[in-house]
Amino acid sequence: MSETTVNQLSAKDFKSDQEVRWCPGCGDHAVLNAVQKALSEIGIPREKIAFISGIGCSSRFPYYMNTYGFHGIHGRASAIASGVKVANPDLSVWQITGDGDALAIGGNHFIHVVRRNIDINIILFNNEIYGLTKGQYSPTSQKGIVTKTSPFGTVEEPFSVGELVIGAKGKFFARTLDSNVSLSAQIYVEAARHKGTSVIEVLQNCVIFNDGIHEVVAGKEIRDERTIILKHGEPMIFGKNNDMGLVLEGLKLKVVKLGENGITEKNILVHNAFESNPGIQYMLANMKYPEYPVALGVIRSVPGATYESDLAAQIEDVKKSTKIKSMDDLLNSGSVWKVE
């Protein structure tokens, strides 16, 4: 899993000849960089990669990648990508989607691709707004937010992406910040290596319609204090001085300070992304500032059978045992009779 093929391609080789049209300052630019960086590490040749997207600002992504690409229709990226991957399991398939594209109109395909565990890497750009249509609230917008379609504030609670993914039987969930290119690239590499659907939520800034929405945790100054980067097998420690940690108190997580009340690294929870029972991962995915730091990194990564390989195996099995080897065989199988 951890070996990489030697790869001659650099991040630059994944850039297409199209002008990047996102607004200056949009978080999408950084995501593009991180993905190109990750691909250069993963070492799959360009022609074996397909980027599939829906509609939204973020969904323009495939145009900027010098790989195979399919800019779909709104909300259907998961379905198109499922078709691509099941048809050709050899391809490395990446789905690019927004919070509207994946969770509003595309919510059904999203939960189903996750349930089926098709080996697709889904990068979900969560700017908590519909960017492309110029600023309406989305299913991840915080309750009460004033937008063009909620001039008096919304009256609905948002989804939490991680919670929904786990609720839909998700086996891989990670979270990152648009601005943290190296963390992001690392996560994309892990996602690519994971067999099964990987969902990566990117907290992405829309400078035009929802500027600074993640700033409270993502701001350069504060992010070390307000986020925690989880790594499998490592204790859950965070803070500028690495002096904060997470422990379990009863059934709840709790933030503690190392050194206080006799707490040492030994008391701190160790992250287990591979645990299939989602209990703690669920709580981790759901941590919210200010009570908790927001969890980044790979929160859950559980192996499991994938749809496309089980299907391929089933077909191989049937083919081995059948007497029908060709269309002529099929046509002449069962009850037939001759007229002479």
């Binding site: 199209q18 495939p62 195979y68 399919f70 779909g72 379905a79 078709g83 080897k325 002479e340």
Partner: protein
């Protein structure tokens, strides 16, 4: 097996098995058809079961029927009126009384004609009297009690015993038509291999029915239908849905591709998905999607990835696929979309037949969004048109919409098995790696078709999508480019016409009346045309299979007839489509929207009416 006094040779005969949903009428009908087909008759069948949910036992709503039309000349419809009706209960009489030929034969299970059942069916006393069937050939048989009697020594449970009732009736019908029991008995042995007592019970009862019929003399005259003089070859029975599925697989084999079907179950199209799901032996990848939209989108993704993408559905599902069909048009990927039409609008009459999705197939999308539309006309030629749909999709890089209908999907007929070698080869326009940089929307001059670059091929990396693009694949809002592309997409579809056959005429090259129809009404229209011709009328039939684009000779054909009547199971959609395309002709219309096929008589009446200038 026995000697009989009189044997009437009939040209053709229609038999209808009718009973409660639980009475096994579909199986009975199927076994009968198989036997007839193996005997060499030409047949056409029409299963007609109730709404998807089982209605209360004994009511008219719960009646399930299976009609078989057999003959020794060519049979094109399952028939309008039946010569023989098997009625397992009073409700079956109620449902079918008006569809029995005057003087026809009715076999009924008189044990089931209890007061309670009569009431359930809405009769107060004797159905035969109430329906004025006294002069018909009524054969009341105490089927239930005789079945119990025949099996009393086998020690079977009551459920198993009563379940064999239908075989008693079948035995009677076999006797009536002088058929061999062999095939059916073999079926029992195979089906109940692990339960020999059940196989045994069925055989006993089948024979009991056969013998019972023989015993009571009431049955004469016996009807006998000699085999149809059909051409040499190997035959099988096939229903429309299976034929459709097989046509797709055959095309994939010819093109050297794998079939990917993305689909969501819906009556009456589910059979296609079910058959393709079973065809893992042929390497088919079937994907039961979460809904119709995912069905088409997964199929389109598979096409992008280099498979033959297929999606199947019925009217409401086609409505849901509208937006994605637009994406297929824009990305110019091969895709076969199958719509098995049923009664609409909305949920409508889900188990009944209709031809009312034509306009939706042609125009049910935003923007100028042309697709190829073709329609099958018999259960077995669903194979041919599914093959054609795939061929056109692959060679012309376009979505193709294939229309069949509930009547074709469930109906079956004997079919001369094709030999794969005789089918045309299919050559998709693959992109060549010498053409780097690859231009996804560059077209060949002749067909205006773009090239197909399969992911995985080094050097052909490219991006497509639903936004308007230039030939290079760059998103473009340039007005002139948009108009150019709109025209090119339309012209590309129009040029499919170059590869399709001329419209065929059944009957004289010119005359007084042209019957124009399309798709699944073919059998009825042809029978009507033939009968009119034999009655001396100058009538021909033109049944359309290629709807967009249409064959090149349509204008020419139309101009050779004094009148044209367009017959279809809707309110006139094809007639209107003809008005748009061939405005210079006058079109009479015959329309029916009852969830049922035409009857031959309806068609003939309308035609004679026109011919006689009323």
């Amino acid at each position: 097996m026995t000697k009989r006094s009189k044997v009437i040779e009939k040209e053709e005969v229609v038999i209808r098995f009718s009973g409660d949903s639980g009475d096994g009428m579909q199986l009975t009908g199927t076994l009968f058809s198989d036997t007839a087909a193996l005997y060499g008759n030409d047949i056409s069948t029409f299963p007609d079961y109730p709404a998807e949910i089982r209605a209360p036992q004994g009511t008219v709503g719960g009646v399930s029927g299976f009609q078989v039309h057999l003959g020794h000349s060519e049979i094109n419809t399952p028939g309008d009126f039946s010569d023989v009706l098997v009625a397992m209960n009073p409700a079956a009489i109620k449902a079918n009384a008006k569809w029995i030929k005057p003087g026809g034969t009715i076999i009924l299970d008189k044990d089931n004609f209890t007061q309670k059942n009569l009431e359930k069916a809405g009769y107060s006393r004797d159905p035969i009297a109430e329906e004025n069937l006294e002069n018909y050939n009524i054969i009341p048989a105490p089927i239930t009690s005789m079945v119990k009697e025949s099996l009393k020594d086998l020690g079977l449970d009551m459920k198993t015993v009563t379940r064999t009732k239908n075989m008693f009736a079948l035995g009677m019908v076999y006797w009536l038509f002088d058929r061999k029991l062999k095939y059916t008995e073999q079926y029992f042995d195979k089906k109940f291999g692990k339960k020999p007592e059940v196989a045994q019970a069925n055989k006993i009862v089948l024979r009991a029915g056969y013998y019972y019929a023989e015993t009571i003399e009431a049955l004469t005259p016996v009807i006998r239908v000699s085999p149809a003089p059909i051409s040499k070859g190997t035959y099988r029975n096939i229903c429309g849905n299976a034929a459709t599925a097989w046509g797709i697989i055959a095309a994939a084999e010819k093109a050297g591709l794998t079939v990917f079907i993305g689909s969501y179950p819906i009556t009456p199209a589910t059979g296609i998905l079910e058959e393709l799901a079973a065809r893992k032996d042929m390497g088919v990848k079937s994907f039961q999607a979460e809904d119709e939209i995912a069905g088409i989108c997964t199929a389109l993704g598979a096409s992008f990835a280099g498979h033959l993408g297929v999606t199947s559905t019925s009217g409401p599902g086609l409505a849901l696929k509208s937006e994605a069909i637009g994406l297929a048009v824009m990305t110019e990927l091969p895709l076969v979309i199958i719509d098995v039409q049923r009664g609409g609008p909305s949920t409508g009459l889900p188990t009944k037949t209709e031809q009312a999705d034509l306009m939706q197939a042609l125009y049910g999308r935003n923007g100028e969004c042309p697709v190829v539309v073709i329609a099958a006309s018999t259960p077995s030629d669903c194979f041919h048109f599914a093959f054609e749909a795939a061929r056109i999709a692959l060679e012309h890089m376009t979505p193709v919409l294939l229309l069949t209908d509930s009547y074709l999907a469930n109906g079956s007929e004997p079919w001369k098995i094709p030999v794969m070698q005789d089918l045309p080869s299919i050559k998709p326009p693959y992109a060549d790696t010498v053409e780097i940089p690859f231009m996804p929307y560059k077209r060949d001059k002749e067909k205006l078709v773009r090239k197909w670059a399969i992911p995985g091929t080094p050097g052909l990396e490219h991006r497509i999508g639903g936004l308007e693009k230039t030939a290079k694949g760059t998103v473009s809002y340039i007005p002139e480019n948009h108009e150019l592309m709109v025209n090119l997409r339309a012209e590309k579809v129009a040029r499919v016409a170059a590869g399709i056959p001329d419209l065929e005429l059944f009957g004289p090259e010119s005359g007084d009346l042209l019957i124009a129809g399309w798709g699944g009404s073919y059998g009825y229209l042809l029978t009507a045309a033939r009968e009119l011709q034999s009655e001396g009328y100058k009538v021909s039939l033109a049944n359309f299979n290629y709807i967009n684009p249409m064959p090149g000779n349509v204008r020419d054909v139309f101009s050779r007839f004094r009148s044209i009547v367009v017959c279809e199971l809707n309110m006139g959609q094809f007639a209107n489509y003809l008005r748009m395309n061939y405005q210079e002709f006058r079109y009479e219309q015959l329309n029916k929207v009852q969830g049922l096929p035409f009857t031959v008589n309806e068609i003939k009446e309308k035609c004679i009416n026109i011919l006689e200038g009323n």
